[in-house]
């Protein structure tokens, strides 16, 4: 596995401005319904324990990237950028949920991230033509070029 290079993609200094007011977690819909870590704790852990601790945590993937935290952050910390950087790093280390792996594999195989048989039936029912075929080759190339192959075999 490659070494962690989070701070190359995200300026660590931005995190120092966090004063733990918890406006982000108070606004977090993922934390409402699931045991997500939440932006406040993510930032605090990155600062106090190092990001190693965070990227190994599965709960990192519970964020639904709605960006409300970033909207309401009084210190304008780019939280969503931080999460993307952390998730990229987590994925490279193998910390990636099975359902996500499945979705990517499906995308590589069919060109779509979901199964569409039923959709075609419904379309036929309404007299609509079936969905045009997805450009699988292009999508596979995109996946390889964006580095998905390093993370997920397909």
């Amino acid at each position: 596995m490659t070494t962690l290079r989070i701070w190359k993609h995200f300026p660590r200094e931005d995190l120092y401005e966090c004063y733990q007011c918890a406006r982000c977690t108070g606004s977090c819909p993922a934390m409402e319904v699931a045991p997500a870590i939440g932006p406040r704790e993510t930032i605090l852990k990155c600062l106090n324990l190092g990001h190693q601790d965070v990227v190994e945590d599965e709960r990192l993937w519970l964020c639904c990237t709605c960006n409300v935290c970033e909207d309401r952050c009084p210190q304008k910390i780019p939280i969503s950028d931080l999460l993307v950087a952390l998730r990229n790093s987590a994925a490279r280390r193998g910390n990636i949920p099975a359902r996500l792996v499945l979705a990517v594999e499906l995308l590589a195989k069919t060109g779509r991230s979901m199964i569409v048989h039923q959709l075609d039936e419904m379309r036929a029912h309404h007299g609509l033509a079936p969905l045009p075929p997805a450009p699988i080759e292009e999508i596979r190339e995109l996946l390889s070029k964006t580095g998905f192959r390093e993370v997920i075999e397909f």
Binding site: Y19, Q20, C21, A22, R23, C24, T25, G26, S27, C28, M31, E32, G38, R40, E41, V68, C69, R72, P74, Q75, K76
Partner: protein, 816 residues
């Protein structure tokens, strides 16, 4: 300026120079590194030098006596003291000269301690050579110095206080009690300001209006105070000691006979939201701001009166008034008067939390601000002091306070508003006191209880059962049926989520500079900090002065402050103003700029760069002139003049060029010429000396008052003369002691770099560095870097570039 003619004649009479040079050993401080006898010996041979001596401690009594007796005995007409920094002992030696009958401006100091012996501790030869050159530079400058006479301007014993809040009231009373006439200008219909709106004060829980009202009525009846309410300052011109002020006074429409009986209010048909009650209740068009108002007189808000079209459509108040005090013919007027000093006490605005949509202020009726809350629980407020919530006027059982709303935030104000924590704790205790069954929750990030008695109050609140929860809610949701509010957030100490249902939420809003603070800033030429508050002249040592002479700051206009601090600062500002007024005159150092009327073409470029608007005149007049009382002596105007019409007294082009020429006389290609401003960079170099930071000895420092004085022509001369490198250094941007005059420095250097490029000269040889008085290490670092770069440049390249520049300059002058 009254220039005694006999004296000017006397100096021109013995035009032959008789310079005395005194080289100080300063114990071992200088003598341990520099061979002082050798330096004195060297100085004897310099042109114009009559005698040169070295002494152990020149600043000591015998050292000074020596100078005095030599002046008398040998009729010395110039003195050079080579010792420590002029920032330390220039006043000492000037006084010595003066007592021996020599004009104090005929003294020059060569700084061979901070700038030489202390920074070249281990290079005795090089340090001695440098000291010789520093003395030679001082000798060539002193030969060109002229006697100067300091001007005194009278200070009018009258003051203007802008703003009638607690700070303005305190400052006005202090000055009036000292016997000076005070004009107190207030925008609103009554003095009192924010303090009048507040219910209780922290940490002592005094009733706010009860302690304020006596002060207000004292202002109202004080024989030395002229109170101008409904008034705004429109124009201020002039300078320290003599400001001309124009005040726009809005019509009151009620005569002074008004007894505030209140018969007129019931008659008035016009309803208007009451700004004093933070919009929580209504008032009439004819009104008095609050019961204790001073002056205790009604006035008509003509904007909302039915007669605002200039015709009398409604005269109900007139009919109701038994004393017939209503005068619809009253007109706005402009008052003009002169004052000697000004105290700015304009106060603050309160943050409007509407943009923070997630909190629902303005949308949910039960979300209110602290100022609204103050009015709500005030016995004189709209609810008569009953704690009720706006939606159903029932008593709330659960009240939440949210801290840091609009403070410490990049979405609003980045600074801490200073008063909100304690204000919330005070409010929580007030609720506890009167309605003990109420549950109170304070959602905070940090509680800042830093002042005297603050921590006690905080502890008391905790003991009384106020719940402090760390973590501000991210969102407030209203129950539309009940008006209750649901707060979603995280308790960061427990690391768990909370949902609280509250009856009422109070947003602890921060304070902000006045929205219209820029107009006064322009009128008085004040500086503002990055947050928009007026800036003090020095954050530690001149906290109530401004960069404009005779103008002082009081209260929260300078930065968020509680009542105690506002009063303290107001008294300080009044005392500073009293010093000027009691003396009755102010002395201005003879370093002001002067314009030669014969050379001036009236282009006005100098007036444009003057940071004090001290240059007046115009095209019609044909010339510009410097108002000496307003000129602070930065000299930034001098390089701006293309016709050589301006020069700065005691820092003339001729004097400084003589220093440059002296540097160029020996091996200039090895040397770094440094121009340092008196306040920051020269002091920074001094600090490097005091800290014994070692740097290469090939730098020669020339002092100007501001880096803005540094003329591009000097840099031209230095490079054409083959200098190795030039450093221009000044205060950090926005730190400038002359109201950001160093912006001009940056602009001129940028332009010079472009010119160097055009002339084909390596522009790295000219460096601009901002060095503060505390950055001795930075100064040493810059010099070391420049020295390294210079060491890599061969001497013949320097000479070649000098030739190139000379060619470029001659081409330029011939083409003109």
């Amino acid at each position: 300026m009254k220039e005694p003619e006999s004296l000017t004649e006397k100096t021109s009479e013995h035009n032959d120079l008789r310079i005395g040079v005194y080289v100080c050993h300063c114990g071992k401080n200088i003598g341990g590194t520099v061979r002082c006898e050798e330096v004195a010996q060297f100085a004897t041979a310099l042109p114009g030098v009559m005698l040169a001596k070295d002494s152990l401690y020149t600043c000591s009594e015998p050292g000074q006596e020596q100078i005095k007796s030599d002046i008398r005995e040998h009729r010395l007409n110039r003195v050079v003291v080579a010792s420590c920094t002029p920032r330390l002992h220039e006043p000492t030696f000037r006084a010595a000269c003066q007592s021996a009958g020599l004009n104090p401006y005929l003294l020059e100091m060569a700084n061979i301690r901070e700038h030489c012996s202390w920074v070249h501790l281990h290079e005795k030869d090089a340090a001695t050579e440098k000291a010789k050159e520093l003395v030679a530079m001082a000798v060539s400058r002193v030969a060109r110095l002229m006697p100067q006479f300091e001007v005194t301007v009278p200070v009018a014993r009258k003051s203007l206080v802008i703003g009638g809040g607690i700070a303005g009231i305190q400052a006005a009373l202090d000055m009036a009690d000292a016997g000076y006439k005070v004009y107190l200008v207030e925008k609103a219909g009554s003095i009192g300001g924010r303090m009048a709106q507040i219910d209780k004060t922290f940490p002592t829980m005094d009733c706010s209006i009860c302690i304020l009202a006596p002060k207000m009525s004292e202002v109202g009846r004080h024989p030395n105070i002229e109170l101008l309410t409904l008034s705004q300052v429109q124009e201020i011109s002039g300078h320290i000691g003599n400001f001309r002020v124009k005040v726009f006074k809005r019509a009151r429409y009620v005569t002074d006979e008004c007894t505030a009986c209140g018969e007129c209010i019931d008659a008035c048909p016009q309803l208007v939201p009451d700004e004093f009650e933070a919009g929580l209740s209504i008032r009439r068009a004819i009104h008095i701001p609050f019961a204790q108002a001073v002056p205790s007189k009604y006035h008509i808000d003509m904007h909302h009166c039915l007669n605002n079209q200039g015709i009398v459509a409604c005269d109900r108040c007139f009919q109701a008034c038994q004393k017939k005090c209503i005068n619809f013919a009253d007109r706005d007027q402009v008052l003009e008067f002169e004052v000697g000093t000004i105290v700015v006490a304009t106060g603050v605005d309160v943050y409007d939390p509407t943009p923070l949509t997630e909190l629902g202020y303005g949308k949910f009726p039960n979300v209110i601000t602290t100022l609204e809350f103050e009015r709500l629980i005030n016995a004189g407020g709209p609810s008569g002091g009953e704690l009720i919530r706006p939606s159903d006027r029932k008593r709330p059982r659960k009240v939440a306070f949210l801290q840091c709303i609009g403070s410490r935030s990049k979405r609003a104000s980045p600074y801490c508003s200073n008063v909100c924590c304690m204000n919330t704790i005070k409010d929580a205790l007030l609720i506890r006191e009167h309605w003990p069954e109420t549950e109170i929750y304070v959602f905070y990030i940090d509680i800042r209880a830093f002042g005297k008695g603050f921590e006690d109050l905080f502890q008391r609140a905790r003991r009384e059962g106020v719940n402090f929860i760390r973590g501000v809610p991210g969102e407030i949701i209203e129950d539309i049926n009940t008006g209750d509010l649901r707060l979603l957030g995280e308790n960061t100490l427990l690391g768990s989520h909370y949902r609280y249902t509250m009856d009422m939420v109070v947003l602890s809003v921060g304070i902000q500079p006045r929205k219209d603070s820029a107009s006064l800033q322009r009128m008085l030429n004040l500086a503002t900090d990055t947050d928009g508050f007026y800036m003090e002249a020095h954050p530690k040592l001149r906290p109530v002065d401004t960069t404009s002479g005779g103008v002082f700051l009081a209260g929260a206009a300078e930065g968020p402050k509680d009542i105690k601090d506002s009063v303290t600062q107001a008294s300080a500002a009044a005392s500073r103003a009293n010093i000027l007024m009691s003396k009755g005159e102010v002395t201005i150092p003879a370093i002001t700029a002067r314009i030669d009327r014969d050379k001036c073409t009236g282009c006005g470029l100098c007036a444009r760069v003057c940071p004090y608007h001290a240059i007046e005149g115009g095209k019609e007049l044909g010339y510009y002139r410097v108002v000496e009382a307003a000129c602070q002596g930065c000299g930034v105007c001098v390089p701006e003049c293309r016709f050589g019409a301006i020069d700065q007294t005691h820092f003339t082009d001729d004097q400084i060029v003589s220093q440059i020429d002296r540097v160029l006389a020996n091996n200039p290609h090895d040397k770094i010429l440094c121009f340092a401003c008196n306040w920051c960079s020269y002091a920074g170099a001094d600090f490097a000396g005091v800290s014994r930071m070692q740097y290469p000895p090939n730098v020669r420092i020339i002092r100007t008052m501001c880096s803005g004085r540094v003329s591009p022509a000097w840099i031209d001369r230095a490079f054409a003369g083959g200098i190795g490198a030039v450093l221009v250094s000044g205060c950090h941007p926005s730190d400038c002691h002359y109201n950001n005059a160093n912006r001009e420095t940056a602009r001129r250097i940028e332009r010079f770099w472009k010119r160097m490029e055009r002339a084909g000269i390596n522009k790295d040889r000219l460096r601009l560095a901002w060095v503060s008085a505390a950055e001795g290490a930075q100064f040493a670092k810059v010099i070391s870097e420049m020295h390294e770069a210079l060491a890599r440049t061969p001497a013949d390249k320097v000479h070649k570039e000098a030739d190139k520049l000379r060619e470029f300059l001659s081409k330029k002058s011939s083409s003109q």
